[in-house]
Point group: D2
Chain length 341, copies 4
């Protein structure tokens, strides 16, 4: 059956898999003390144009969010997030589990607007009773957002400026970063992001890897004894090679960007296809996740031959569903979809 | 200088103080294993018309909120609160510190409306992805609220019904409970509250005691080894007599209710006074906290001779301030205020 | 019935109670923003001969241990304690509850010996795998210990030296500090302790107060936003005056030391009495807690007229019990005991 | 260079890798909702002869320990472990990080003896002050232990009996379980372990997988909403297939046991070799980890051509090192070692 259910329905990109196969019988020390992990870190720093950054590998997005936030914040500090942010909504309170408040602000199609954050910060710092409140110390954004939308360079720069003004850290959740970077509407490069954020991660799980996220700390921002803290969170792989080898492959010969581009190209075809057939879009997404409004009949008919993701029910009874393309989506699949919708 | 800054600007009510003096040289075992603590518990159960409840004493409101919520919830469960609720806003994230998410919903002048909670719960339980979300397991309300407003019996009954329907606990923060019970507008008695809530507390710190809140668990609701867990939170007094003796005095000869009534009577005089002089109220509060809007000139003039609490700045530049009466406010103080405003 | 059950069986010392009575009707702002609290802090700093220290008040010993340790350590750092230390054994895991390991080392009659700590530290720092281990960052000692024993100036200086060498904090739990300072065998003064420790507290609950411990941080050691963090732990009193006024009284006219001396004098009389009557001591304690070994017959006979504390069963069937004198023990009580044993 | 540094120096067993390759392009839903994961669970339940068990996959040992312990215990409950247990020593306090005390008892070459546990439990439950102590609610053992030693069926049965008597859970950390099961000295089968333990895990990372541990809960023992809690710990893979497919391969055609047997066979050859050459063993291990005592000269000489693990320094200056065989060790490697030592 055809599936656009999510961007993690397949295994690894073939070149990533080949790298695992090729290195499988190499002897490597554990915990990332191996040359492939080292090489992967160097390739990423180069792609970020940021030789002084520090790179670490974790296995998944929620884990990356939890480890980064809990190791960068003190116990009385909280993290600002869009109400619709992944950490606010869909991680079973993983941040609160480590003792930190997620300060939820209104979002615009998944995005945190600088004006809203600034108002919050001004209010907070002028409040005579703020000694009774959690100190906002970090801004968390996802890019692309949970709705597939993107921050512009101007918007990210505004958030950076707020962080500078109020002594905060800027953290970008890039679980789908490649799909953001390769979007036609993006004016942000990887070096821009590395320059503007204190910490961010480059998602592998959804872009070509079996698992893995590469966390990039700006110079001086990596928490003390970070590997130890990773271990304390149960987040360290004994065979660190698993993520190292995969990211080495992803950042060799532009692979990460090329396969991200594939998802974007297919998404645009899919978008045109739905538009041409007169379907209504829930919102305008420039990345690999497309949100379509279906009535029950359409749901049933398409659902017979194609899987997609449930998003939400609308008050009028119709349903918002998500079609996600990925590094592996083929032109043939888009054509097959055309036969169905 | 005259002060309406808060309801905790003085020491204990004289009868509470006398009880401490009178029992000071009695030998008592520690940790609440004394007859005065036992007697206080019985008096409270009687006042609640709830002989099967379990009563425990803690020292303050934030502590009571933290200990109750963290001992009643499992790690993946969260507590619903009004956005303006004390636990959401003014406890430095004490709930999150213990690992639990505070699920913030919109409030109406401090109150959580059943409709809004119900919508949230319906959405949650019909969401196919709720395995990724914190389970709402408790409703937290404050009564009176942080804005001095009150739940009606009908409103509290509606929240109780939601808790029954969705398998949740109802927790009422009664840091100022006496002032709510004695308000002319209250149709809720202490036995009503004991019947409708799974757990609540009767505030002493703001109503006649030096410190102390009496937590009342409905039969079967007290967490396992609750005293041990209290100790684990650093919340157990070696000299448990300190809270026991004070609550024994407060619940002897109707003292708690009489002195709460005093605050309400004085608040009504204060309210009439401000109204008569043409001041604008920020909201209509039926309890001991009154919120008045002052311009800068008024702020300065009144501030010379009388202390009050800062609440918030209005967009038009004026300031909302709080005048709080208490168990100890005298008619003379209201008259003195009349000379000033 | 006569009672030597513990040193917290009575209320406050009369002068402490008088201070509470005298100030009861003074208007004071909350959370310790009052002149008595301010004055108490100054008096303590003076007694410590340490004008640059910072002083804060908490309500009890476990709370003080929990708040101090969890706010001074990072999440991957642990605290070294004697196996028999209060935090290791009798606080229901209050330290672990905040996420920190208590590293338990062997003790000698309650005391942590520098040699044992040093061996541990040497091993730790020379272990190639210590990235997988909790970093020892603090030494916790109680003085007097749970067995009533005392550290000498030389011993405390040795622990200080280890802290300097290995980048650690020295924390002294002084729940019974006065009884230690006034012991005939003590060569440590309060200024010595303030000089040698990074943080310590002066116990009030067991020495004349209804509740309260004064935490003293060396210059520069107080955690960021400490009052906020206290609030986050549920450990802040709205009526901060309760601890402020009591400590003001305790540190006026040498009261704290005089009443501590009383406990020591009575303890020496009690010790002589038991020795004279041929009772066996479990250990030699120079402070207010005396540990006597009783057989069942003695237990029963003395227990009829006098309360004491259970300590532990010996393999030979006899029982170790504790007799504690306090700030309030009278010569008459010792004489009454002489009639019983 | 030859390496016996650890049992996780290579990638996956070739059949495991083949399974990943073969299934790479199959469309599968995320989070373990795929047929391979389902099949793997069934195969494991069959191998355990325990159709009512529940099986879940996690990525590593520390993560498995942390997730299992923190989701099975209440906040005031602790876990008993040998002092040398992995959770006590080498997980950076991952258990304490989740709020639980590890109660460390003396061990015999890595093993927790029932007698020592029983003494502790008897003492605890007869202690009048145990309300101030963490409740022992779980026994944690590793099998094989960190020293390669094994529990006999009789020993495991004794620990089970203690758990039954004192209302505790028995948790077996099987990071190297296969190597234990296939040891010539083992009298415990996988069904025995499934029957005697409330929860245990079957290690994959060290036995043929790239990552992955299979946690097996006895019927009724799996924590509520376990997958949600896994997500909350950051321990859920979006591509759950990664562990599902690997364990499906490991439990097909007896692979897990066959490759474990290989490690044991090679370990016995290695053991004989060292013994024949007159080397001193630090202890007698019947599994794949062998601990040899080397002097500096031997260290240097062997170290030139072969890697091994550092274990500890002896007081006499010699060093204990570890040689580990694995699922992948070849006869040729043992022969090569013979040339070196």
């Amino acid at each position: 059956m055809l599936s656009f259910e999510s961007d993690y329905i397949l295994g690894a990109h073939e070149k990533v898999l080949e790298a695992l196969i090729k290195t499988n019988n190499e002897v490597m020390s554990g915990y990332g003390n191996d040359i492939h992990t080292q090489n992967a870190k160097n390739l990423i720093k180069k792609a970020c144009n940021s030789p002084d950054s520090e790179v670490y590998f974790l296995t998944g997005g929620t884990q990356a969010n939890q480890v980064v936030i809990s190791t960068m914040l003190k116990s009385f500090e909280g993290v600002i997030s869009a109400k619709t942010g992944h950490i606010a909504l869909h991680e079973v309170g993983a941040i609160e589990y480590t003792g930190h408040k997620v300060i939820e602000l209104e979002a615009e199609i998944g995005k945190l607007k600088a004006k809203i954050v600034e108002d919050y910060l001004k209010n907070f710092w002028s409040d005579e009773n703020n000694a009774m409140m959690v100190v906002p110390k970090m801004i968390y954004i996802s890019h692309p957002t949970e709705y597939g939308t993107l921050y512009s360079k101007e918007e990210l720069t505004s958030l950076r400026a707020l962080c500078d003004e109020y002594g905060m850290k800027l953290f970008l959740d890039g679980a789908r970063l490649g799909y953001g970077l390769m979007s036609r509407e993006s004016d942000l490069s990887l070096p821009d992001i590395a320059r503007l954020c204190d910490v961010f991660y480059i998602g592998g799980t959804k872009i070509g890897a079996l698992c893995g996220e590469a966390v990039v700390f700006k110079k001086g921002e990596a928490p003390e004894r970070f590997l130890s803290q990773t271990k304390q969170h149960g987040a360290m792989l004994a065979k660190g090679r698993l993520t190292g080898v995969q990211f080495e492959a992803l950042f060799t010969d532009n692979l990460y960007f090329d396969i991200s581009k594939n998802a974007i190209d297919r998404a645009e075809e899919l978008k045109k296809l739905f538009a041409f057939r007169g379907y209504e879009f829930f919102l305008d997404s420039p990345t690999n996740q497309q949100f379509i409004i279906l009535n029950d009949e359409q749901m049933a008919k398409i659902g017979e031959k194609c899987r997609f993701g449930f998003w939400e029910k609308l008050p009028d009874g119709r349903t918002v569903v998500r079609f996600a393309t990925s590094f592996a989506t083929t032109k043939e699949e888009i054509q097959a979809l055309a036969e169905i919708i």
